[in-house]
């Protein structure tokens, strides 16, 4: 296993470098001048030239990349062109909040989705199955912001039960938890999407497992249904769920643009989106780096989890 992890570690570094290069190239393919985008309409050619010189934008691409990597190794993620703040501090402010928001919603989705999916499989093609599937798919098909707005309309505007948005000025993680009523709606809305995924994948794998002959034999041998489910079905159903969890890790650091926009949650998603529009390269590169790291870690963790779940999966030395 350690050999495997080391090998994967090496591969991950290669992947991350690949991602950075790809992103760098893509960024510079964005048409238009960064300087004009940041300086606005009144940018004179003189100011544009100064901007380009200050940020090294008139150097050839590979030189800019090397410079960026050098800075990275010194721990300097650069300064956001638009917000005029160090990228590292921007990310450090927003990432923990997103991690909590999305972490909670993924957890909630998992806790609701997997058991429901297995239950659906056990009640395959009966009313419960159809009803649940219909509910999940309806909730999944309706766009995030619509569900969010509807919930707000009902719970905040009509009946003042919950706050509709996060209060401004709360920048610390502790503050986040202090204002926990404001977390309820965003977490709920975000988990709605994931529940459908977790439950349907769990259901489909559970169905397959339940059709296997050894289940029939286990039941014939008198194994209680509860044990059939937990010992056999659950384990197998977790496989795709693990994959999705691993694939969700990058989402946790990438933020959720819609939820952030509707619930007044300045997070990574909005930062990323606004920076993409504003040609704010340092922020985009810093964010991509973080997401790249999260992606490889997420997939690595998923792969390791497979072999834990299913001892027959081994990664060998080839």
């Amino acid at each position: 296993m350690t050999a495997y992890l080391l090998r994967r570690g090496g591969q991950s570094v290669v992947v991350i470098i690949g991602v950075m290069i790809l992103t760098f190239i893509l960024l510079h393919m964005e048409p238009g001048s960064v300087a004009r985008s940041v300086l606005g309409l009144k940018a004179t050619p003189a100011r544009v030239a100064i901007f380009d010189k200050d940020y090294g934008l008139n150097k050839p691409l590979y030189q800019q990349f090397i410079l960026y990597v050098k800075q990275l190794f010194q721990g300097n993620f650069g300064i956001s062109y638009q917000l005029q703040q160090p990228v590292a501090s921007l990310i450090a402010q927003r990432l923990p909040r997103d991690a909590i928001l999305l972490g909670l919603s993924t957890l909630l989705a998992l806790v609701i989705g997997v058991p429901t999916g297995i239950y659906q499989a056990l009640r395959h093609n009966l009313l419960a199955d159809d009803l649940l599937a219909g509910t999940w798919f309806t909730l999944y098909s309706a766009p995030d912001f619509m569900e969010a707005l509807l919930l707000i309309a009902l719970l905040c505007v009509q009946f003042h039960i919950l706050p509709p948005a996060f209060p401004g000025g709360v920048t610390s993680v502790a503050g986040l938890f202090e204002n926990w009523p404001a977390l309820i709606l965003p977490v709920a809305v975000l988990s709605i999407n994931s529940v459908a995924g977790f439950s349907q994948y769990a259901r489909s794998t559970a169905l397959q497992t339940l059709a296997e002959d050894y289940i029939r034999v286990a039941r014939a041998k008198g194994l209680p249904e509860r044990l059939v489910v937990t010992r056999h079905v659950l384990r197998n159903s977790l496989l795709p769920v693990i994959t999705i969890l691993g694939l969700s890790l990058p989402d946790i650091v990438a933020g959720a643009v819609i939820a952030e926009a509707v619930f007044n949650f300045p997070g990574m998603g909005l930062l990323f989106w606004q920076s993409a529009l504003a040609h704010d390269y340092p922020v985009m590169l810093g964010g991509t780096l973080i997401i790249g790291v999260a992606t490889v870690i997420g997939n690595l963790a998923a792969d390791v989890a497979y072999s834990v779940l299913d001892p027959r999966i081994r990664y060998g030395s080839t």
Partner: protein, 608 residues
């Protein structure tokens, strides 16, 4: 079917939300709240989405075009000339920093007598503070956001301070006093030389600004400090203010709190004990908070939501609308490689303008909350500048028949809902015009900033109404930053293909200072002259408004510009604001200090 049940549940939720609506009549500029004044209280103001300040040094650097920094700084370091007196668009003598301002020597010398105000640390506000600002700007104006080429401080030949409260500025030529006072001096604050004239936090204060090198050093130091958001509320520099407010706390997400400056010398001393500015990521989040009846006292209302004014009023809010100072436009690129020659013809621009149904756009897209866009000058405020021609509707009211006639008179084949083609190329009076070939199509691409449903509606409507007479408009929407990044200023001398491919662009409006002069916009090679319009008569008329004070000069420029269509005039939306019914002082307000003057707000003990 069973899954329909789930759908039905969703619909039930929708009913709850959709149970309101209806479009009430347009609200005006609000009537003043009456009642007994209550001292103290906290007001929470919603910052518009994306509007967080990130620089606290009042002389913003050219690299920081965030307009909301001024919201933060002007309450603490007001400008020499304060614009907005009640609901009137005029200079406010009470909040301005001078007691008299006189022009002499053929309008080339300004004598300013400063009021005997004090800084918050007790030191007096003196003329030295003005020369401090002047010295800093003189050495660094290329790096100053507020710099207009050829104007302050470039056009100042001498600044003298005969005594501690008098400043005498000598300019290099005569100016129109109203123009200069309203548009230039209205952006010059006074800064505390005795506290800020230094090059490091621990270093001593000196007269560094008196040398160019020193002024640059002080400028760089102050700019660096000014962008360090973590120290906005703690740095000793920013605690020295002469305005009614000072900063009690500032968070990096844009949330900040003002408390009264106890040593404010002006007459409008704050009554409230705290003003909180809280940021919102989007309009939707702000609207939801408003409608949930929680903490907001003052918030902007997106025009899309004017249908909910009734609901808001029943929740204890009042609503007021105020025009936005500026002009909204479609800018034609007279030098684009494809149809520049078409746009250079005045009659083509006239056709384009005749086919825009501005009245319908105002009622439908802006729900009535917009200036009609009759010309370069708004007619909904500042009646002293709107000419009779503009007040009467401008030279080009909506008229498809006039547009068609104009086209035929210049040799075009008019194909309604098709594309017109040129039948008579040539340069005679009845021909299409120079550079236009036979069979050339009357087709333009309109590039506009996406993300605003009003723009989407407006431009889609324009596309349809232009098509009536065969003018084909192809729409392309781009995020604003992309639009700015890919388009540049184009004129006769310089129109590089990389940035001058655009044909028509629409991105919002260009803001006006108090005096809505065309200087810097429509004169040749002006900084805001994106489309390259150039006409000697226009330059001459603009000069007359900038340098002379003949009262008819302004109308002459205005009517000429309205008729010449360097830009296609569009309606410009108003600002609509929602505020607590028992909060007095928010209205009446002028377009220039609307919601920017909490020092005159106070709670009343009984709501009317």
């Amino acid at each position: 079917m069973r899954r329909v049940l789930a759908v039905a549940g969703m619909l039930a939720l929708t009913v709850a939300a959709a149970a309101c609506g209806g479009t009430p009549a347009k609200v005006g500029s609000g009537s003043a709240t009456h009642g007994k004044m209550v001292r103290g209280g906290t007001v929470t103001v919603a910052e518009p989405s994306g509007a967080s300040p990130n620089d606290i040094f009042p002389l913003e650097p050219a690299t920081n075009s965030n307009g909301y920094n001024t919201n933060l700084t002007m309450g603490e370091w007001p400008f020499l000339v304060y614009v907005g007196y009640g609901s009137k668009s005029v200079v406010n003598p009470q909040e301005s920093l001078y007691s008299s301002l006189t022009w002499s020597h053929n309008d080339s010398v300004i004598t300013i007598v400063l009021k005997p105000w004090k800084w918050s640390d007790g030191a007096p506000v003196t003329s030295r503070d003005f020369t401090f600002v002047y010295n800093l700007l003189k050495a660094n104006y290329n790096d100053w956001l507020g710099y207009n080429p050829g104007l302050f401080p470039e056009d100042v030949t001498k600044v003298a301070t005969p005594n501690a409260h008098t400043v005498v500025i000598t300019l290099n030529r005569s100016y129109n006093p109203a123009f200069y006072t309203d548009d230039e001096l209205a952006f010059v604050p006074l800064l505390p030389q005795h506290a800020w004239d230094r090059t490091s936090l621990t270093g001593k204060v000196g007269n560094y600004d008196e040398t160019t090198a020193g002024a640059k050093a002080v400028w760089n130091f102050l700019q660096k400090q000014g962008s360090d958001m973590a120290t906005f509320d703690t740095s000793p520099l920013w605690k020295v203010v002469d305005g009614p407010w000072k900063l009690a706390s500032f968070q990096s997400d844009g949330y900040y709190v003002w408390v009264p400056n106890k040593n404010y010398s002006g007459p409008d001393k704050p009554v409230l004990s705290k003003v909180i500015f809280t940021p919102f990521t989007t309009d939707a989040a702000e609207m939801d908070t408003l409608r949930s009846g929680t903490s907001l006292s003052v918030a902007g209302l997106p025009l899309n939501d004017v249908g909910q004014i009734g609901e808001l009023e029943s929740e204890g809010y009042a609503v007021a609308s105020v025009p936005t100072p500026g002009v909204a436009e479609i800018v034609p690129n007279l030098w684009n490689p494809v149809n520049g020659p078409l746009l250079r013809q005045l009659y083509i621009r006239q056709v384009l303008e005749y086919l825009i149904n501005r009245k319908q756009i105002v009622t439908q897209a802006f729900h009535g909350y917009a200036d009609p866009g009759n010309g370069p000058v708004p007619v909904t405020y500042g009646q002293q500048w709107a000419s009779p021609l503009e007040k009467a509707g401008g030279p080009y009211p909506y008229s498809p028949s006039k547009a068609a006639a104009l086209l035929r008179a210049h040799g075009w084949k008019v194909v309604p809902n098709g594309t017109d083609t040129c039948l008579r190329p040539g340069t005679a009076a009845a021909d299409c015009g120079a550079g236009i070939t036979a069979g050339e199509k009357l087709q333009f691409q309109l590039l506009y900033a996406s993300g605003s449903s009003y723009f989407d509606q407006m431009n889609a409507a324009i596309q349809t109404s232009e098509a009536q007479d065969g003018v084909k408009i192809v729409l392309k929407a781009e995020p604003f930053n992309t639009l700015v990044a890919t388009t540049g200023t184009c004129n006769a001398q310089s129109h590089p293909k990389s940035t001058c491919n655009w044909q028509l662009q629409q991105f919002g409006y260009v803001p006006y200072s108090l005096d809505p002069s065309g200087a810097g916009i429509f004169n040749t090679d002006a900084i805001n002259n994106y489309g390259g319009y150039s006409e000697p008569k226009m330059d001459q008329l603009i000069n007359a408004t900038e340098y002379g004070s003949s009262p008819s000069a302004f109308y002459a420029y205005e009517d000429y510009a309205a008729q010449q269509l360097p830009w296609l005039w569009l309606p410009n939306q108003d600002s609509v604001v929602v505020y607590r019914k028992n909060l007095a002082g928010v209205v009446p307000a002028s377009p220039f200090d609307f919601t920017l003057n909490p020092e005159v707000w106070y709670y009343t003990s009984s709501a009317k």
